[in-house]
Amino acid sequence: MAKGDGAKYLVGIFAILFLATLVIVAGIETKKSESTKPEIELTGKSKQCVACHEKKGIAVKQIEQWKDSKHAEYGIGCIECHAAKKGDFDAFTCPGSDILVGRYPTPKDCGVCHEKQVKEFANSKHAHQFWLLHNDDRAVYEFPMAVKHGCEQCHRIGTMWPDSSVGDCSACHARHSFKIAQARNPKTCGECHLGPDHPQIEIYEESKHGNIWAAEGKNWNMGYETANHEKIPIKAPVCTTCHMDGSPTQPMTHNVSARLAWESQAPWSYRTVWDEKDLGTWQKKRERMKEICFNCHAPDFINEYFLEMDLVNLQYNEIRRQFVYWNKKLYKEKLMYPWKTGEKLWTSPVLDGYDQLPERKKYYTWHHEGRRFRFGAEMMGADFTQWHGIWEIQQDFIEMLNWAADHGDAEAKVWQKSNNPTKMITFKLYDVPGNEWGINTELNKPNFVYKMFPDYWTRIKSNVEAAYNKGLLTKDQWDLWLKRYNKKEYYMGTKFPEHPKWKFYKARDQKDLKHMKKSVIDLNLPGQSFYKDMH
């Protein structure tokens, strides 16, 4: 290499290195994210509101929340919702200003922009204060001071305002950010839909849907829109997915009653007739719900599931019938006394007072365990159908019958003395061969009713058919039931040979029991109990 060439090579190499660096720099520039959050502007009266509130330090966090909202982006400020006219029930002049504001923005105010949602909501059960229907009776157990922070806090969702509007939008969309993501979170529904008498949030959390939500939901962006039939973007449903949100085939609605076919919170499960003018028959409502299920599930599974769920509702009615029968009987026999004010009966047929055991049991079997029994079946919370549901219902039944027997009712005494297992099913039964979880060859062999009564299925069939004829099941459901009935050995698994593992499990079971007996049951301790000394 000649003199000076080394220098030239070096320069060339350094130059290329520099160019490479420039390319990297340009690359980083391209990847920089652009901040595109639009500036929130305060104009006019709202500017005045914010300035004064910030100066006085009153509710300043709410201003921050508002700045985070979609309202702020669109220039909808304080005065747009809080404007009041002279004579409004909640109008007052903000201290230190000349602005007339309304303390309570009601659905009427929200409805100025959100007319559709307010209208849908006003037609739904959320806007209906059921508990007010039996206010007098309620007040016995739940006197005024107790209800304010109790019943009234949840049931404010149906507030009846002096300005003729009904409801409270901020019950779900917390003010002042009004974020969809927050409203959509199951915990929002769970603020009210929880507890011993309607544990929807607990049932949801037990269910597979809730399980997937718990595992992956924190990564889901919950602020999506469904007003334009968008696809459901999340992997498992939350409350709103089934009860409100839109899908490619269903419109989004704020009417939570639009997709519910049963009144399964009522003392008796009946097919809903809520607002048939706008929402159609219960069959239409059921179709709407199924449309949502179709987004994830196969038609067979959906139909089988709904059939079994419906039969649970109907079965509940038969159980209820027993409790009503016994209570009526005990009143007639003057073994129980309803509450009165003077000559007028105090209570409603529904509430009937709670101080006497059968009355209490009747109430609980409806309002608490009966609801859990039904809701658990509806929303896949098995524990609530079983241990918090039917198990407790049966306990209530036993206690009621024993009370009746102890107080002198002859029929109850017969029951009490009976040693036949059928004493636990004094009510009429529904059934359907098999379940929706698959074919289990050993599940249905041992059940005592199947074994004891050869005409079992005939009787069941007549009951289901009667329900169908009464219009409580659709034709498709009846056809599905018949399909199962006609192939009952298949669905019940009884047509299949005994499972090869059955004997093995049984033997294991015996081994366990033997061992349990030998190791702990047959243990007679030497140290005498001290009671024996004294008695």
Partner: protein
């Protein structure tokens, strides 16, 4: 400095094409790249403006034949309610930039600087203004009047 020293300066070497090429090309490329970077830094980008809807009025808030002055997205405008519908017009006179006034009794916009006059829809009646008042896109939804404005970015110093 003495002549001796000058004579001892060494001479340039033999030519080599690759070396020259790398050398000249390298320096030119480096210079070019560097200058390009500097220019990109200094010359602001032309970004397509993002539009944003902003609420300006409720239906029936402004009577027909009336205009409401407002400041929206940093711009002074008038929201006019004509029989045919709503207009949002810039309050800046197209002559030399003064702010026009709304004269309800005379049903016109009046510029005090050089007596320019505009109709309620922004077209010029008389005076020096060369063009009608700038108009913004309006959308009326659910009884609310929105105007489409260029979005202002947080922290934008542009």
């Amino acid at each position: 400095m003495t002549d001796e020293k000058k004579n001892e300066v060494e001479e340039e070497g033999r030519r080599n094409f690759l070396a020259n090429f790398l050398y000249v090309g390298g320096i030119l490329a480096a210079l070019g790249g560097f200058t390009a970077g500097l220019l990109r830094f200094i010359i602001p980008e032309k970004k397509p403006p993002k539009m944003q809807e902003i609420l300006v009025a409720h239906f029936n808030e402004i009577e027909i034949g009336d205009a409401k002055p407002m400041e929206v997205a940093g711009q002074k405008v008038f929201v006019v309610h004509l029989k045919e519908g709503y207009r949002v017009l810039s309050a800046i006179c197209t002559h030399l930039g003064c702010l026009v006034q709304w004269q309800k009794e005379n049903q016109r916009f009046y510029c005090p600087c050089h007596k320019g006059k505009y109709r309620p829809d922004g077209t010029v009646i008389s005076g020096p203004p060369p063009r009608p008042l700038e108009s913004f896109r309006v959308e009326v939804k659910n009884g609310l009047v929105y105007v489409w404005m260029k979005q202002k970015y947080t922290g934008g110093l542009v």
